[in-house]
């Protein structure tokens, strides 16, 4: 999709899927799934100059020429599950079994689920795995790209900076990281819990090219940043996106309390019609 409105519609529809999935499971991470949604939609549905941003094919598991997305903030699994179902990696009915016993859709992503590149959820580890994956691709001199998506709270993990150092040292140009900078973590505001700012300066000083995105929910800005990240820099790229936790559900926006909470029946009755209304307005 190159049309911004189409991407917006897709993201709105997927937000509804996410809320329903978490509500049905009565468990799951609402806030971070909603804040990262637009970044994921840009990657999986976005196009630049008629070319898809990410190369993937649900019909070809283990496709050698695919690009990879590693969701290092694995707790946002509902967001990626809703996309993988939508693009055809598995049937949409699987979403009803999210977090249930015997389900393919674990609380945090596992590699055996179709479309999932790597088991993640222990924060910081997906970033390091993505880095190793990018190095292995470089050993074979292949052009595949690796996208890693981190939360801002996740940047508190030490391994993130070991990885940042190594990726710059080895000029892993094919590694593109996104920081879903929603400024909240479970216990509250990242500024008060453990300050991670200035994120841009930190990555730059580690030798990365950093592209700040003022509004991580604006597809025009996201696509522009990704296009820029695709130009050669001989270094890894980090796209720092300012986002809103709980984006799309007015009463949950910017609230840490919705980090790991499903919406109640009453809240669903308010949130879903609001999103449906948005969808109708987008035409």
């Amino acid at each position: 999709m190159e049309n911004i409105k189409d991407l917006q519609k897709k993201a709105t529809q997927l937000r509804i899927d996410v809320l329903r999935m978490i509500h049905k499971a009565k468990s799951g991470h609402t806030g971070g799934s909603l804040s990262v949604m637009d970044i994921l939609v840009a990657l999986y549905y976005g196009e630049i100059n008629g070319e898809p941003i990410m190369r993937y094919d649900p019909q070809k598991p283990g496709w050698e020429d695919q690009d990879y997305m590693v969701l290092s903030k694995g707790h946002a699994s509902p967001a990626i599950y809703s996309i993988l179902a939508d693009v055809g990696f598995f049937d949409k009915s699987e979403l009803d079994y999210f977090r249930q016993v015997n389900s393919m859709l674990q609380g945090h992503p596992v590699i055996k689920t179709p479309g999932i590149s790597m088991t993640t959820g222990s924060l910081g580890q997906g970033f390091s795995s993505a880095h190793g994956l990018a190095l292995a691709i470089n050993v074979d001199r292949k052009p595949n790209k690796v996208f890693a998506i981190l939360g801002d709270g996740e940047l508190q993990e030490g391994i993130v900076w070991e990885t940042a150092m190594a990726a710059a040292h080895y000029n892993t140009e094919n590694l593109i990281a996104f920081v879903d900078n929603n400024q909240l973590q479970i216990d509250g505001n990242t500024r008060t819990i453990m300050k991670v700012e200035p994120i841009v300066d930190k990555f730059e000083s580690f030798g990365w090219r950093v592209i700040p995105v003022q509004n991580g929910h604006d597809f025009e800005e996201l696509l522009f940043a990704i296009d820029k990240a695709f130009s050669s820099a001989r270094k890894p790229t980090c796209i720092v996106c300012n986002t809103i936790k709980g984006k799309g559900v007015s009463f949950a926006e910017g609230k840490a309390s919705y980090h790991g909470m499903p919406l109640s029946d009453q809240e669903m009755a308010e949130a879903i019609p609001a999103l449906e209304k948005q969808l109708a307005e987008l035409g």
């Binding site: 055996k112 088991t119 222990s122 580890q125 880095h131 190793g132 994956l133 292995a136 391994i159 190594a166």
Partner: protein, 317 residues
């Protein structure tokens, strides 16, 4: 392979040679270091195949976790450091990014046990077998000498799945000839005897052989068994040892909790309850010459003999 019988060679050296030899043939092998390529003996591979060698600097977590990422593309990464760091520092990365997704990553831990010597307790891994063994999908291999190490590395490269390889710093006598067959999951009876079974792993296998000779002079007939695969353990062989002797004694340069002793106890207590004792470490190590430490902690031939005789008296044989 040029190792001569009884020659003193460190298993880490044999590892370095095997890695260079078989890693040349296996184009998917990638070697990862954390600033210890000289000590862990990966430098030969690094010199021959620089495109497949990565030094991560002093950052074991990222080294081990990046290895997991490489395995996504079908690579066979060997992540190498001192055992304390490659297993201990990186444990949760091994758990969540290697064992849980069952990635084909090989963790190499050299400088295991008090045999490490002068560096002291911070660098002497005594819990690595326990913490690796506890992880589902993980195999644990601790070769007894240079020949077995060499053969094990070839076997491990052909095998699939997470594997921990435990190596020592100092030379140990070569006990096997070139015709030795190493198979993952199988132990090996080295000498027969019906009084006690000395079930040993790694560097303690040659000490068990020494002790068996000394015990012979005391009229004690000892069976010596090499358990180089601690997981999956050779259950049938261990039960057989217990059936054919009066007392089973495990020997390891490792803590007695959760290591070889623990693994053997798990087998016997469930399937063939037998009299059993453990020889190993019961506290942190310290600095000293390796041979002095083995003497102090009764892990040399004489110390083992003394402990075996005491245990025999204790259980009344």
């Amino acid at each position: 392979m040029h190792f001569q019988l009884n020659e003193n060679i460190a298993t880490r050296n044999a590892f370095g040679e095997a890695l260079a030899k078989f890693g040349g043939r296996h184009k998917n092998v990638i070697v990862l270091d954390a600033d210890l390529s000289g000590s862990v003996k990966t430098e030969k591979f690094a010199g021959l195949y620089p495109d497949r060698h990565f030094n991560f600097g002093i950052a074991e977590s990222n080294m081990v976790n990046s290895a997991a990422g490489m395995a996504i593309r079908g690579k066979i990464p060997f992540a190498c450091s001192f055992a304390v760091f490659s297993t201990g520092r990186a444990w949760e990365h091994i758990r969540n990014s290697i064992c849980y997704p069952n990635m084909n990553v090989k963790i190499v831990g050299s400088h295991a046990g008090i045999l490490t010597g002068e560096d002291g307790a911070t660098h002497q891994a005594l819990e690595d077998i326990a913490i690796m063994r506890a992880l589902p999908n993980m195999k644990v291999i601790c070769p007894a000498d240079a020949v077995e190490t060499y053969l094990a590395i070839e076997e491990i490269m052909n095998d699939f799945g997470p594997t921990y390889i435990r190596l020592g710093r100092m030379g140990v006598p070569v006990i096997y000839g070139k015709d030795h067959k190493f198979r993952i999951g199988f132990g090996d009876i080295l000498t027969y005897g019906e009084d006690v079974a000395l079930i040993a792993t790694g560097t303690m296998v040659s000490k068990a052989l020494e002790a068996a000779k000394l015990l012979g002079k005391e009229g004690v007939r000892a069976m010596v068994v090499n358990i180089s695969t601690i997981k999956p353990i050779d259950k049938d062989l261990i039960i057989d040892c217990a059936k054919k002797t009066k007392l089973v004694i495990t020997l390891e340069d490792h803590g007695v909790i959760g290591g070889l002793g623990g693994a053997v106890a798990e087998v016997l207590s469930q399937y063939y309850p037998a009299k059993m004792r453990m020889i190993g470490m019961r506290k942190f190590g310290e600095s000293g010459k390796p041979e002095d430490l083995y003497k102090k902690y009764k892990l040399d031939g004489e110390g083992v003999t003394e402990q075996v005789l005491e245990f025999m008296k204790e259980v009344g044989i």
